[in-house]
Symmetry: D4
């Protein structure tokens, strides 16, 4: 009797599960890429997951790998017949893909701006994700020398070239995204960077500034979340491009 009841309950759960699987197709439809987040994974586990990805897809993206992982992956795919590895050392992100595979262009065009050199890894993460979702990406990274005025020229050029969305990465007081949102008429995604110190350290100050910003066109993701910023931006840009 109880067993019968358990079976009924279990069936209901499974049915929900079946439908939930539709979710997996959505990733294909929307073009949001699944990424292997390697930060807390052992290298071998990551390699296994790459394998299982390559069985059902033409490429696999690995983010936040530890530096030691490079030699492992290089050894494995060096001289490989089918696959090549694209390594982005700034962002600790890499793509294993069929040598002939090219990400399909979806028409989206995204600008990425950073205010300091510690913002670059996160910005590059966003870039790789957006590109793998079919977007063209134009970046302007300050090298950590001077002030805000150096960003106007590239911002102007981005607008000229027709970008549909801008990602702005900023640590410390994190005001740049609000400034940009007040100058342009396209959606701006602010990415707080974990580079502040003292009160508001580890990006909390930047996150707070962006959430408090009076520029209404500004949307925010979590601290250092380059992946989320890149994926959202690509989603919007591709929709506008359609």
């Amino acid at each position: 009797m109880e067993e019968a009841e358990n079976l009924i309950k279990a069936n209901a759960i499974e049915e929900v599960g079946e439908l939930a699987k539709l979710d997996i197709f959505r990733k294909v439809r929307t073009g949001i890429i699944e990424v292997i987040y390697a930060e807390n994974k052992k290298p071998e586990v990551t390699l296994d997951i790459i394998d299982s990805f390559l069985k059902k897809s033409k490429f696999a993206i690995v983010s936040r790998y530890k530096d030691e992982f490079i030699s492992l992956i290089t050894k494995k795919f060096d001289n490989d017949e089918f696959y090549s590895v694209d390594i982005n050392k700034f962002a600790n992100i890499l793509i294993v893909k069929e040598k002939t595979y090219k990400f399909e262009k979806k028409g989206g065009k995204i600008g990425i701006i950073t205010a300091g050199s510690s913002d670059i890894p996160v910005a590059e993460e966003a870039k790789v994700i957006a590109e793998s979702m079919g977007c063209e990406v134009i970046t302007s990274y300050d090298l950590g020398i001077a002030g805000i005025h150096r960003l106007f020229k590239p911002l102007s050029e981005m607008i000229k070239s027709g970008i549909q969305v801008i990602i702005v990465c900023a640590g410390m007081e994190g005001t740049l995204p609000g400034v940009v949102a007040a100058l342009v008429d396209i959606p701006v995604i602010g990415v707080p960077i974990s580079s502040g110190y003292g009160l508001g350290e580890k990006g909390l100050g930047a996150l707070t500034t962006m959430l408090q910003s009076c520029s209404p066109g500004l949307l925010v993701v979590n601290i250092d979340n380059g992946f989320g910023a890149g994926a959202s931006a690509a989603l919007i840009a591709n929709k506008i491009a359609e």
Copy 2:
């Protein structure tokens, strides 16, 4: 000599100021509406600002007014020849506008979903803003009775009707925006609502959940920021509609 120097410096600042004024035109270009935030203003000050708005524009929007303000504004514009007042009591937002004025349709179509009855004021604020920026808005507000399953039907209907962006308001644990972002392939804007209690009270729990969310298509604004959500959503939706 010092005075001369001061003059030079002052000129430089003014020049920047001149250009900064371009900013004011941007509001017209982008269609982001200026709103009179009445929360900490004395009623007479708010009335004065409404007047100065109506001199340069066909309408004025007042948000977060105190309940006492209603009688004041009604008295002033009751039987007015030119202006009428649209009052949204849920959101404490009102629009004074020329009787014949209609917000120009820009083609954007936005869905707004809430999980509980305390989310409605913020949702309505987003709605009024988005409408005044030329968007059509479809809402689905739960009345605080049952579970998540009640939202699938209206969500499905929203998608059918061709919305381009969804705003999801949620307090407490704030999981609904992430769930919606995992079901649809259009941008989702999460609005944390200040309704939680205990650890994570006043919306902090909901904000945290949304920022931590694994659904990459989810973008976030600050707690109770219906205005920002509405403006951003309208900006994106109108761009896609173009």
Copy 3:
């Protein structure tokens, strides 16, 4: 074409929704009661929701009502032929139910202990919920006079009477749940109460103490969450009683 695609997507969402509705039956199966949380609702809205509850159920429970609500509900159901109202003024919780209706006994037996008089409202909320889920509840509320030693006698009597779960409410430093968990061999649910002051005020100190507790049999709910504690305790107690 795009419309067709939208229809397909919408269908998928609806299908998930259909299954999600199973969720509503679960409430019946598990005996977890739906409660109308009135804190942020306007009185008329609450009355409407009561009506819609009574259409599909023999009772409706309203928690956290404002004191003003009492006169409203009394007026409405006073001299009512079918329904009576049970009001628990300590917990600001009330039950509207068919006069002849009695909550079915499920066999669960729960003890509720408090350490101070400000814990009583939350304890009573837990009690009403557990009773309406078919449990017998034994309470021991300290009147705020003396020390921990006054709780041993009633604790002993609870154990003698065969309770299966104990709920312990405590504010301030919140040590009582850990002490009880170290004395009994049945599950203990700690409810932090928002009564502390200074560092750790508003229940944060009590919550922290319970989460840090070295007594492994202790489980925790959020601050002042009498409803959650009562529902969980009843779920466990009824299962053990089966």
Copy 4:
């Protein structure tokens, strides 16, 4: 005179102490296992405590040992006539026990579910504790690849097999325990995992989500507290099995 008074006071304390010793028998009665928490202990101290455990018990459990400890303990018990060492490298937990000793089965049956690969160490800790308290444990660990839909099948199978309690480990936004609690009619214990980043990092986001959850059957332990979750779950499951 003062000395006499001191003696009287001291006696009173000792009497309380005598009774408090009853507490030690409770551990045997309830089957909650004492565990040697090695995190901040020097290896030699841990070895000494193991020895003193083995004098009064047939086994000793060591949790959160440093990796260096393995070689030490292996050297000591390698080729030992009486004792063997079971090492769980995922959870950094090990059991030294008489070779012939088997934990007595108490009838409890527990499911453990994780959402990501960084949750596994804590989940395994819970598993070892629950098993050593006489429970059967069924686990379903996601390998960090895909989405929530992968959990429905194993959840369904757990319910079919008759588990009485589910432990759900989740980091980041920590929504999985609430989702599971809304699908099943047995008690759910949520374990926040210290894997989030940015706002709500180190598990605070997951803890907040679980405490704010609207699913009333959900109970919570502190961040990464696999021991507490395992012990509580075993306590409840064994009681239900009785």
Copy 5:
């Protein structure tokens, strides 16, 4: 059988309880006064507790009463044959006692110093408690006008008069207790007052300063905890006086 087991367990708990009752005598021995904390109690409940106190003791102390309580208590004990009421309006603390009763002098002598007028209620609370525990109390309250230099004279006089302990109340940056502890050679108890603003508001700044203080003779109680400070000071002062 199970019932028998329950009885045994219950007995064990009761035995602990019996001994724990010894605790109640301790209050008599140590001279720490039980106080009725009225903040969250309904007036009638407080009156009931006063009655039960007066049955076993010659006096009852009520702290943190609401202002409305005064008329109630005055009405009740006005013209009473046996009892009189001493009201301390600064501290919202009152003592109902037999008209002829006098707190026995224990020899302790305590100084209380405040830095601002908002510290006085807490200081007075400490004073009433210490006096009712048999101590003489010398106070020096600044009226909120000038600087630290005004405290040297009374501090000097306190030392001359032979006080054994000093209580120092301070809000804002809370440095006074550390300064005093660096000038005297007797124990100093710092009481943070909830009067700060901005970062460190509600006494958190003062508490932090006192805990970080480099003056090793400084001990701390929680924010606004005049009762704890007074009781601890009296305990120490009376011991030294012995």
Copy 6:
């Protein structure tokens, strides 16, 4: 003997006290005004303190009075022969002074800028303090309508008129002080205003932004601390003017 020792100790403290009194003259020398902070004081106490001020000085300044205080003070000094009362209703600050008394001009010239209407009370507090310390003050308060561009013109005029220090009040994301500090070559004092909402509410966001600011000429005071900003600015401006 012990008494003798106490006397010696007391003398030492008194001697320190004597010197500390020098501190009181400093206030005269530096021109920093003592202000009666009325927020937590009873009206009568405030009146008493005013009296004692007027005995040794030609004026008394009262800040943060409650609105009720106005009628009291007006009644007292209305038609007074010697004293008049200047009331600043924006800042809830008032000055009672000899009718003929004028604050001596020290040459300092200060600019005060605000970004929103909720910043005005704090700005006015700073203004009154700076004026009473002998400075000329030029203010530019935005009425809460438009953007940053409206501040360039007045800023330019301030520089032209030769101000030596600028105070900038800002709530919400608090970026204005950093922007001003990047445009001018005189010291800027940022005052965070307690007007934000959600994450960083009550001025914490603005404070964090100012402390994180990359503009090195920016100095900060606590949230809403108009008094401190005004006094520091006046101190610096007068020194430069010398």
Copy 7:
């Protein structure tokens, strides 16, 4: 003229300074020991400070030294004619003193109790400080195995032996100091230990519990502040012993 004024100001400061030097004698009078806090000092600097101490005192105490420091100090004083080094490896505290020097007994007697093995370093720090201030110290350290009941026996023996103050170190939920304060009639100093995890980690939970404690005889120092606890306890104990 300005120079003259500067001289006058400087003199005033120096005079205060002269008196402030009295402070240095206080250390001798009160018997509070100056300790060289080595945590952030370079080894050579620490050695220099030891030298300067030994010129004016018969001993020098170094706390929180890094492990590397041991070889340095041993090398220096090995075979030294006059000085010997006492090293306490648990507490990373050491005393260099004249071989014949003995700390004068002042009569104070202190008990120190810990709840877990990670509390021992802090407890030992308190012990060394108290001993060097002339107190006898009795310790009871749990080895991290079992429960609270193991502390009653040694607590009873401490009371029998006539201790005047108890220091109780506790991490995690930090309840032990409150329990002890409820059992004894002598002052109790609680030392929160930085050993918790999750919510309330790094000792914050323990600190909160102690500050919230309902046991009025409990006084608190900052997290891990063994030095402050030892010094305060010795100050009180010696005073009582007098």
Copy 8:
């Protein structure tokens, strides 16, 4: 058409950018030095930036370099004909400059005071910045041995020598800046140092104390922000010296 619009928008942005470049000249005018913040930069990048600095300026300042950087920079400029390197190992700050270049004296005179040895690196950073902006700097660093009284003498001497601003660095409870601000009549800049522990650790306690300080002449920068303190102090001191 859209392209034309983009061009117009882009032009507007560029125009703002042109004016913003004025900002770069400001650095020359005000004498605030641009510094290369090396903390998160790769050594080669830092070397490149030094080169680009030396092309437009006679010197380059590098702050917060990693220790490894020293050998790199020494190797590069060792035996260089034109440039020499001044290394400040306390502050990890270095200056590469033309051998013959001397920072122009602007007349400012600044005092820097520290309370403990861990404050020295930040104090030295402030010193190097202020010197490179043309100020003379007098420092008084306590070596971590004794108390506050040791600071009066050097403070007095600083005042005698005519300093215009004082920087006071303090960690732990951070009271020193407030004490100094109460003794002198010149502006005081407080720098919280990240040296506290327990509640208020990492400088938060010191920052809070300084912001809460009742000494109105005290201005604050972020934790460990020696650069900001030095730059602000030099700006003010040079202005006064003019």
